[in-house]
């Protein structure tokens, strides 16, 4: 088996080490070396984000580092994306949103980034999203998963209402998260799962998307 081109490691390391110039340069070098852009994305950039997720889970990296890694991921993607012949088959489709009444989207953005890097198609509805709009998007996009986030306790009851509507009307798995959300709360409102961080959210997304495809 051939060893992976060194430029893939350069891509992954640049994302991990928050080196924007290095990531953009490595993206160009990957194309010049004839590496398929899909491979550069999945085995280079996404691998870098996976390692960022590991550091986040281990509390070595925190939100600022993940946000900047995300910016670097997308900056390098801009070099690679025009050369992608076709979209690779997505691991699944996730609709994500911050529930109505809450405007804190940092957690949702991190989960979106990590889930996207893991190969999912993500439909991001943004923040302060009413349950009805989420339901409409889940039906329209035939989503496998929904990711709901809230940072505030005043909006926990909105999260509960959204989960209830989605579980009554769709077959999508509903994952919930945010600072005030724990397993007991997720179970009480009928959500399918919750994770304490973005890496956990990716694992849950894989698990539930896998179940639906069996």
């Amino acid at each position: 088996m051939d060893a992976p081109p060194p430029v893939l490691e350069d891509l992954a390391r640049s994302v991990l080490e928050l080196d924007r110039e290095g990531a953009v340069r490595a993206a160009g070098e990957a194309l010049l070396a004839g590496v398929p852009p899909e491979t550069a994305i999945t085995a280079g950039l996404a691998e870098g984000m996976r390692r960022v997720g590991e550091r986040f889970a281990a509390k070595v990296y925190f939100v600022p580092e993940v946000l900047v890694a995300g910016r670097i991921f997308y900056a390098a993607m801009e070099v690679l994306a025009p050369h992608v012949a076709r979209q690779p088959d997505a691991a699944g489709t996730m609709v994500c949103a911050v529930v109505e009444g809450d405007f804190h989207d940092i957690g949702k953005n991190i989960v979106k980034l990590m889930v996207e890097a893991a190969g999912f198609r993500v439909v991001d509805l943004g923040k302060n999203v009413p349950a009805e709009r989420i339901l409409e998007a889940v039906e329209r996009e035939r989503a496998d998963l929904v990711g709901l986030s809230t940072l505030m306790t005043p909006t926990l009851d909105r999260m509960a209402r959204t989960v209830k509507i989605l579980k009554e009307r769709t077959s999508a798995a509903v994952l919930v998260g945010g600072a005030p959300v724990d397993r007991a709360f997720a179970a009480k409102i009928g959500a399918d799962g919750t994770a304490p961080d973005a890496a956990g959210a990716v694992a849950l997304a894989r698990e539930f998307a896998g179940r639906r495809r069996r």
Binding site: G101, P154, A179, P180, F185
Partner: protein, 327 residues
């Protein structure tokens, strides 16, 4: 008359019973009273009115005067949107940090008026904490979260300058709160260990927090800090700010009291969306895991949810007062 136990604990004395305090803000108090949220958040008399009514109903041992997190950012020029039944939010950051005059700018005089009314209405030994934003969170709200966090990595001196400018602005607000008889409660939710690692907390959040605690101490007042979320990655640094009281969510309470602070918290707020049994069980669990000594006020870990059933807040206080206690 029994001395107020929360006041006793803050003064370093053993209380005659376990102090207890459901912590709530204007959103919960106004919803409970049927007062439009915007009215309560823009009128000092109405803000004091709904807070005092909830306080009287629940019977806690301290009061927090808290409107919402946008007060100072709005005064700096951020566009704030109100909704009928949820706390307001920053729709457009101010884009800059400027020094505020707490007696004139934005809704700061509203909060100060409510603080003065609450102080006058309550027994002198019952602590009245008045919430103001911590420097890091104020910089986030004034400049935008993405911008400040990206600066933290890409241009650390600029990020530090922004947070220090926010701290300098808040010094005058601290002094104004103390003049009304309030205890400054520096709320810094974005400085949580869920967001910042120790390196960034030490460089960005800690200097401003320590500066504001010192500003309160210079006036002879104690100072309190509230940081919600998971504090543990940065907790040892929070202790270095020197606050007299820490209102915490996920944290090592024993370490906080060993470092010299009184701890307020222990009861997770999501139980107030469940039922009375869950609230009573959470109160007992909080008491069972209380730090050793008498530097603990059993409280909600954060603010009560907007629509929390008042019956459950009463149950929290009732359960705490049933617990065995040896002064």
């Amino acid at each position: 008359m029994t001395p107020n136990p929360a006041g006793a604990v803050l003064a370093g004395r053993r209380p005659e019973r376990l102090p207890v305090a459901p912590v709530f803000g204007a959103d919960h108090a106004a919803a409970r009273a049927g007062v439009p949220l915007r009215d309560a958040m823009t009128d000092g008399d109405r803000l004091a009115g709904v807070l005092l009514a909830a306080h009287e109903d629940y019977g806690g041992d301290l009061l927090v005067v808290f409107s919402d997190v946008t007060v100072e950012a709005e005064a700096m020029g951020a566009t704030v949107r109100f909704s009928p039944d949820l706390p307001p939010h920053v729709a457009e950051p101010a884009g800059e940090i400027r020094k505020l005059d707490p007696e004139r700018d934005g809704r700061l005089p509203v909060i100060l008026r409510a603080a003065a009314l609450a102080r006058a209405a309550l027994p002198p030994d019952l602590p009245v904490l008045v919430s103001l934003k911590g420097p890091f969170s104020l910089a986030v709200l004034a400049l935008g979260m993405d911008r400040l966090l990206a600066l933290a990595i890409e241009d650390p001196p600029k990020a530090r300058d922004a947070v220090l400018a926010a701290a300098e602005s808040q010094e005058a607000y601290v002094a104004a709160i103390v003049r009304r008889g309030g205890i400054p409660l520096i709320g810094d939710p974005f400085a949580s260990g869920s967001v910042l690692g120790p390196g960034h907390f030490e460089a960005l959040a800690l200097p401003g927090l320590a500066g504001l605690v010192f500003a309160a101490h210079r006036t002879g007042s104690p100072a309190a800090i509230h940081i919600c979320g998971d504090l543990r990655p940065v907790q040892r640094l929070v202790h270095r700010a020197g606050a007299d009281l820490l209102h915490l969510e996920q944290a090592d309470f024993a370490a906080a009291t060993a470092a010299g602070s009184v701890v307020l918290g222990g009861v997770p707020t999501d139980v107030f969306l469940r039922d009375e049994a869950a609230v009573r069980a959470a109160v007992r669990a909080a008491a069972n895991t209380a730090p050793p000594g008498h530097r603990f006020i059993l409280g909600t870990a954060c603010d009560l949810p907007t629509r929390a059933d008042p019956e459950l807040a009463r149950a929290m206080v009732d359960e705490a007062r049933r617990l065995p206690w040896s002064p």
